[in-house]
Each structure stands twice: as C-alpha cells, then as structure tokens.
Symmetry: C2
Subunit: 220 residues, 2 copies
DNA sequence: TCATTTATGTTGTAAATCCAACAGAAAGGA
DNA sequence: TCCTTTCTGTTGGATTTACAACATAAATGA
C-alpha cells in the first residue's frame, strides 16, 4: 500500500495510534481494499444494504438525498480521513441517502463484519477495533441527541441558552470558547444569524451571559 | 433468577430470540446483576462515567437534565424492557444527564465491556451480542440523523413534506400509515398542532398529499 | 343508546422568525 | 499604511408560527 495512504488512514479516528507496521498487518487481515472514483461516480446508492464502511483517502465525497420534487440536497461533504457508512452498515437497513464522489477520489473499504467480529488467531490482535467502532457510534449518538434537544427548543433564546449551558457543563467552566463564528453558530442552531445576534445582545443586556467574539461566559 | 424477569429480559431488543436456558447461561456469563430502586432514587448521576448498561425490568425510570435556572427537564421515560445507557457506556464520556427511578423499580445491569468483548471459551457463544449492540446504536443513529434533518427545516410545511417523503421511501409505497396521531406528529416535528393541521389542509387542497386519519398518500 | 371524552380542523391575534439592507468593527493582504 | 474582505450588530417590514378559543367528528364507556 502507498505509504502516503497509510499515513492518512493512520489519522482516521478508527485507526489512530497504531504503528505503521501494525496498521499494515491489520489492514491486510481486514482485507481492506482501495478503490478509485471519477467525478460524479456513485459510491453508495440509495436503497441498497451495505456491508462495508469507507474511509476517504483523497478527494471529496458528498452525502446527498433527493426530495419529493427531485431536488438534490447535499447533507455533508466528506474529505480526507473521514469515515462514512458505519451507521448504515451496522444497522443492516437500506440506506436512505446516496454517496457520490464530487471530485476524483480514493476510498478505502473495509468489511464491517470483520471489524465487529475480529479474527482471534494467526493474526495480530485488533479486537480493540470493536471498541473504537462502538465509541465512534456512541459519541456520535450523544452529539446527535444533544443537537436534537437544542433543535427541539422553540425560540432562538432557548436554543442559545441550552447550547451555552451544555458547552459550559462540557467544559466544566463558566467561561469557554466555542468552535463557531456567528454564522456557524446560527447554522448549528438552525436560526437566522441576525436574529441570533440580536438575541445575544439582549441576553448580554439582561446580565444572563457575557461574550467577546467566540468566548462566552454564563452568569448564574 | 426470577422466571418473570427472564421473560421480560428475553423481550428486550438486546436479548430477543434466545431460548430461556440459553439466556440464563448468557446472563450468568455476563455477570448480569439485578438491583432494586426506591422512588426518586438515583440510578446514574450526571457527570459520571458509566461502564454498565441497564435494562428496566419493572417500574419506570426517567432521563432528566437540569438547566441553567435549576429546572428539571424530563427527556424520556423508560419502562419495562427498555435499554438505557448504551451510548454513554460506549462513549467513555461523562454522562450529560441523570437517570432517576420515578417509582419503585427493578433494573438489570450488564458490564458493557463483556458485551463488546465476549468471552470465547468455556462458555456458550454469545458473540452476536456485539452485533445486536452495534445494530441498536446504528439504527438509533439513523433515526436521530433523520430527525435532525427534519428539525433543520425552517417551516412546518417543509418539515411535514420531509417527514412524509421519508416515510414514503421507508415503506417503499406512496400510501402508508404513520404511528402518530396529530398531536404526536406535531410533537415529533416540534411544531404547533393546530398550525400543523392547517398546513396539512393546505397541502391537501393544493393536491400535494391526501390523508385520512393516520394514513397518508404523497402525490408526485 | 346516550353521554362523555378525545381528536381534529378552523380562525384571529400576538409573538417570533426570517429576510434584506445597512453600518461599523475586525481581519487580512498588498 | 491603506484597501478590501469578512464578521458582527442593528433595524423595519413581510412571513410564519404559537397560542387560545371554539366547533365538529370520532371514539369510548356506562
């Protein structure tokens, strides 16, 4: 395998922390396979059941979904080191979205079954791949649950307060820096940026929060 | 173990389909333990790292969260057969919520590690517990992702159309029945019931959908 | 059967959001 | 440094929602 590729795989969440010779052995044992895609070529089709996960080596893939009116909605873009398909492969259900290469791309595929039930003999131990996989799914799960809790708030004010309170708890500090600028935060909370800015000002005036740029402080 | 308990455990998603003697052996090998809780007693505390999952045998537990102002928000209620804690145990992160018995309850606990890395010798094979666990996490993940996609739509109309389109695809049919009454659907979409009813009427008038009670048909 | 409760649809009003436009601040580059 | 671009806050008007109140339909139970 191309050593550049190995370096990238080694940076993906699933394979982080291995020595490169270990990684090579594991990938061999997992029967991992590289595949190239041309621009606009389909990687996973909507409605199929998949049994492999993918890791983007080079290029960009897009998760997209077609709506009632035939419009193509782009859900996410995936770049180098990103893992995809793990929830779908694990569920055994047909996938409700499609994955397409939005430019020429290289992808590594691994049989999901081999990750979940690693071989135990004649092979380097890679049973902690299960733990890593489950951790990925679990953490994603927690993030999604938290986001739903936020989106379930009716007003911009409530969404902001829930988000800031959650971040405060997560950092175990009243003062913390968020990984968003204003537009990014508005996108995350699914509200209008200008309305959100106005609400932030109000909260500051009312003495409920303080902030400077992306550093916030909750006062309570 | 109480045979009534066994019957309930056998109905939980994780242990469905086993013969009762198999189940007993597996539970023994997993070192599963029963614990009783009084009303208002804490099961899991916010901020702790947990290494067990729970299955409710009898009674009711509540997942709840305290907000900035000290209000206790109930996120979900858990009843007989429900599994909880799997995402938190799998993540290795401190839990952002607390679990409390809202009435006298009986709970079965299982070490998470033993599910993910089942023993392979001197014991009945229960390696498919990993598969079941991963399937649970994955399917939950897909549901959460779908819900976020819906909640990310700005208007009631868009939320409705996205939801109905998704259900149509899932059922692979233009006509399908949803598991909600109007209030339930409004809660799921996080919109006002009456406004939603009005929007449904509009969509029907415009010839975009048809419906009768909880049976819908998308026309496109 | 009739009475009661629950579910659903309709409407008007108040409140909140979105959108657009703009101005000043901050950041980045020549 | 100056110029340009990006980011942030502010405001007013159009749109959408939430809320409350009510009427009718459907379901439930005595």
């Amino acid at each position: 395998m191309n050593p550049e590729y190995l370096k990238i795989i080694n940076q993906s969440e699933l394979f982080i922390g291995y020595e490169s010779h270990e990684l090579m052995l594991i990938l061999g044992c997992l029967n991992a396979q590289i595949k190239e895609y041309q621009k606009n070529q389909m990687v996973f089709s909507q409605g199929t059941v998949i049994d492999k996960i993918g890791i983007v080596i080079t290029g960009t893939l897009q998760l997209q979904q077609t709506d009632l009116f035939g419009n193509n909605n782009i859900l996410t873009s995936l770049g180098s080191r990103n893992i995809f398909g793990e929830s779908y492969a694990g569920s055994g259900l047909p996938i409700p979205i499609e994955v397409v290469a939005s430019q020429e791309s290289t992808v590594l595929f691994i049989d999901y079954e081999k990750i979940i039930h690693p071989c135990t003999k004649n092979c380097i131990d890679h049973s902690n791949l299960v733990t890593m996989m489950v951790r990925l799914l679990s953490i994603k799960n927690m993030f999604l649950t938290e986001k739903i809790a936020i989106l379930s708030k009716r007003t911009t004010r409530e969404k902001l307060l829930h988000y800031l309170n959650g971040e405060s708890k997560r950092h175990q500090a009243k003062t913390f820096t968020i990984p968003f600028n204003r537009q990014g935060l508005a996108d995350y909370l699914v509200v209008d940026r200008s309305a959100m800015s106005a609400e932030l000002s109000k909260l500051k005036k009312e003495g409920i929060i303080e902030y400077h740029k992306s550093t916030f402080r909750v006062l309570s």
